[in-house]
């Protein structure tokens, strides 16, 4: 890959995603700007769902797939995050079983396989809270489409409209999925800790 000139790099830094993608159609190197710009956020989202090791591969593959599809990118969308999150979510779908098993492992044991690599010492490795375990159990039981939608909102920090774009569904579908998913989680958490909600709402 050729090195970008400083001037080109600075021009890219100011350009919106759509322009960068447009440039990359003929000069593929520009696509790495998109990687640097968004990979940290996508990485965080994927790590949350599948852990570090899988995340590295998925993030790389997300951008590779995006690169392959760059010709069909809708140039009216200045922000590429929904597109990238959509691809990443699709890739996460391949690891559905692993994701569910990790939630279940956390729910059953209190030890989170996703977080284990981030704890350096034995002392740091303490069991998850009861709330985390219940949450993990609830996440494991969510239907895939509800989980994808909810987690794009919660961990991808996308708006409902952006989630709709990412998943290619109407915004009303996103609303109803989030609402259903939240009710299901609320029930799991609420079964044993109703007071928590009041602490929240009164705070």
């Amino acid at each position: 890959m050729t090195q970008q000139s400083r001037a080109e790099a600075e021009a890219d830094a100011d350009a919106d995603d759509a322009s960068v993608i447009q440039l990359s159609r003929h000069e593929p190197e520009h696509f790495t700007v998109l990687f640097r710009r968004h990979a940290p956020h996508i990485q965080r989202y994927v790590v949350h769902r599948l852990g570090q090791d899988a995340a590295d591969d998925i993030v790389a593959e997300t951008f590779l797939l995006a690169f392959r599809q760059r010709d069909s990118y809708d140039q009216t969308r200045a922000d590429a995050r929904p597109w990238l999150y959509g691809i990443a979510t699709n890739l996460i779908g391949r690891h559905r079983r692993a994701e569910i098993r990790m939630y279940r492992a956390l729910a059953r044991t209190g030890i989170d396989p996703v977080m284990e690599p981030f704890t350096d010492t034995v002392d740091d490795r303490v069991s998850a809270s009861g709330a985390s375990r219940r949450l993990a159990a609830a996440l494991a039981r969510l239907p895939a489409e509800l989980r994808d939608t909810l987690l794009l909102v919660a961990w991808g920090d996308l708006s409902y409209e952006e989630v709709a774009t990412a998943l290619g569904v109407p915004i009303g579908t996103v609303r109803s999925r989030v609402s259903r998913a939240r009710r299901k989680l609320r029930r799991t958490l609420g079964d044993t800790n109703p007071a928590a909600y009041d602490e929240e709402s009164r705070a």
């Binding site: 593929p28 940290p40 965080r44 079983r97 569910i100 069991s127 809270s129 949450l135 909600y197």
Partner: protein, 558 residues
């Protein structure tokens, strides 16, 4: 809202940054991508191992797809390595060695045998509870982070045959992708079935074989299909392009099997559905990140799966669920999904609630705290408030006279100790609760003395349930197994009745005439997904909760 807050705190210690490794893989892949576009030999980084085959397949796929559907056949002798990625049909067949049983040579033949086995099986009603024990093996990449966790891990639990409800560790993937209630409208032709499943894919994945294979897998493992449909699923599996048969496999439980195999593609790990080698029933689902490398195996094997009479039972039984059980399951289902949120939920024990009750044509306004530790009424225009601890308590008609304490049903919760979401928190001692499963719960509820005589007929449990439903202010989040417990009372039936307030209700009706004889749930709202308790019948007289609302204090009307 709390669940969003919990989600935000969940795994919050994960680093908020990209990694050099991800960038390294991406750059290597991008370089390779550009090189392959230029028809040059790509230079691969070691890390891009898992990405490489994808490109090879991307080139191979058009060739493979050009071949007739269903010819993807490979015979694998025992212990052989799983197939490398090649266009199907280009691989020479390898005959099995003489010492082994004859191999199932084609996916079509395996499908025929599996279909015949499925057709010989029983039809299980949608609401039938199924007991399931599964063994899970995690890939090393996950496993190495799990200290002190047994691998493989054995779980058990219950699910309904339609896969809509599960309890404990049953159910492979939470919910099947295609709903049981719409099975009747699935195409009755295996090739059309594959195409239909592919068309359902919301993200329009390129790899249609993977989509069809995964969907069928979720149908086979996520619910108990009617025999004819299960048979069709096997035929449809055999028609998926690239699907092969692997003989002489063993699942993680060590059982001899034969597998439908979809070799890895750019979209997917290698997927396998393993059937029993002798009778072709479903044994396991497996996926290999790197075929043949056991450390990349992820597998779920079904050790036990059979119908039981009720949630919580592990004794095989083909007795179909009763009308009362089906009604209770419906409540359980809606508790799980809560399509329409209840008006009152998640109140603190001291929250005041207003209730307008009607008993035998007489209305009564009453204020009570959610835990019924204090009640208030207007007596001759004067508000009287009584605490349970006061001397007035003895003469008070309490909404919740006898039964488990409020904290047993809604255990108190204290926020995790720690210095905010970024710090790990210590496990909290779980507060005592009632038994979660219906039968033990019913037995426990029956131990509270309500003064009735027919204890063997569970009169105490029925009275206690009515007390809790009427007297504690958190009902919508009552554990949903309560109604399943009531459905276990001997002789219980469900009737459709019109109550004194004109509501169409489902009445759980109990044979004992000792105390509460019926518990009423609004039928119209239930069919719309809301569980609303309406009241109970005692001594032939209805007590209905006409109105219930959160208020700021005693004497305050909503």
């Amino acid at each position: 809202m709390n669940e969003m807050h919990e989600l935000a705190c969940f795994r919050a210690e994960a680093p908020d940054r990209g990694t050099a490794r991800a960038e390294e893989i991406f750059r290597a892949a991008l370089t390779a991508e550009l090189s392959s576009e230029r028809k040059l030999v790509a230079r691969h980084s070691k890390r891009s191992r898992r990405l490489r085959p994808a490109w090879r397949l991307a080139i191979a796929a058009p060739l493979a797809l050009g071949l007739a559907v269903g010819v993807a056949v490979a015979v694998q002798p025992s212990g052989s390595q799983p197939p490398a990625i090649l266009p199907s049909g280009s691989r020479p067949s390898v005959p099995p060695s003489g010492s082994q049983p004859p191999a199932v040579t084609t996916a079509t033949l395996l499908a025929d045998r599996a279909a015949a086995a499925a057709l010989a099986g029983p039809t299980v009603p949608a609401g039938q509870w199924i007991y399931e024990q599964t063994e899970h093996s995690l890939p090393a990449i996950i496993r190495r982070h799990l200290h002190g966790v047994h691998n493989p891990m054995v779980q058990d639990g219950w699910m309904t045959a339609d896969g809509t409800m599960s309890y404990g560790g049953a159910g492979i993937s939470g919910n099947p992708i295609y709903p049981y209630s719409k099975l009747g409208s699935l195409p009755r032709d295996p090739a059309k079935l594959d195409a239909y499943f592919v068309s359902l894919d919301p993200v329009k994945t390129d790899d249609k074989s993977m989509v069809a294979f995964s969907q069928i897998e979720s149908m086979l493992f996520g619910m108990v299909l009617p025999p004819t449909l299960e048979a069709e699923m096997y035929h449809a599996l055999a028609l998926i392009p690239h699907v092969q048969v692997k003989d002489h496999v063993r699942d993680i439980a060590g059982r001899a099997g034969v597998a439908f195999v979809l070799p890895p593609t750019k979209q997917s790990e290698q997927l396998e559905i393993i059937l029993d080698a002798s009778d072709y029933h479903l044994l396991a689902q497996a996926s290999w990140g790197d075929p043949g490398n056991p450390s990349t195996l992820s597998e779920t094997a079904i050790l036990k799966e059979y119908p039981v009479a009720e949630l919580g039972s592990t004794r095989p039984s083909t007795i179909p669920p009763s009308a009362a059980e089906l009604a209770a399951e419906r409540i359980f289902f809606y508790e799980e999904y809560l399509y329409a949120p209840p008006k009152i939920n998640h109140v603190t024990p001291g929250q005041w609630l207003y209730r307008d009750l009607r008993t035998g044509g007489k209305n009564q306004e009453i204020w009570a705290t959610a835990d019924d530790s204090a009640q208030a009424q207007y007596v001759n225009g004067t508000l009287t408030v009584c605490q349970r601890t006061d001397s007035c308590a003895a003469s008070e008609q309490w909404l919740m006279p006898t039964g488990p304490s409020y904290s047993l049903i809604y255990p108190p919760y204290s926020r995790p100790t720690g210095t905010g979401p970024l710090q790990p928190v210590k496990t909290q001692q779980a507060p005592p609760t009632l038994p979660p499963l219906p039968r033990p719960l019913l037995d426990k509820l029956n131990t509270y003395s309500t003064g009735c005589a027919d204890v063997a007929g569970y009169c105490n449990a029925v009275n206690v349930a009515a007390n809790v439903l009427t007297g504690y202010g958190n009902y919508p989040y009552l554990d949903s197994s309560w109604f399943l417990a009531l459905a276990d009372v001997p002789g219980v039936s469900v009737r459709h009745v019109t109550d004194a307030a004109g509501n169409q209700d489902i009445a759980f009706t109990f044979p004992s005439q000792d105390g509460v004889t019926a518990i009423l749930v609004n039928a119209k709202l239930l069919s719309a997904g809301t569980i609303q308790y309406e009241g109970y019948v005692r001594d032939g007289q209805q007590t209905l909760v006409l109105n219930q609302a959160l208020v700021s204090g005693p004497g305050v009307r909503p």
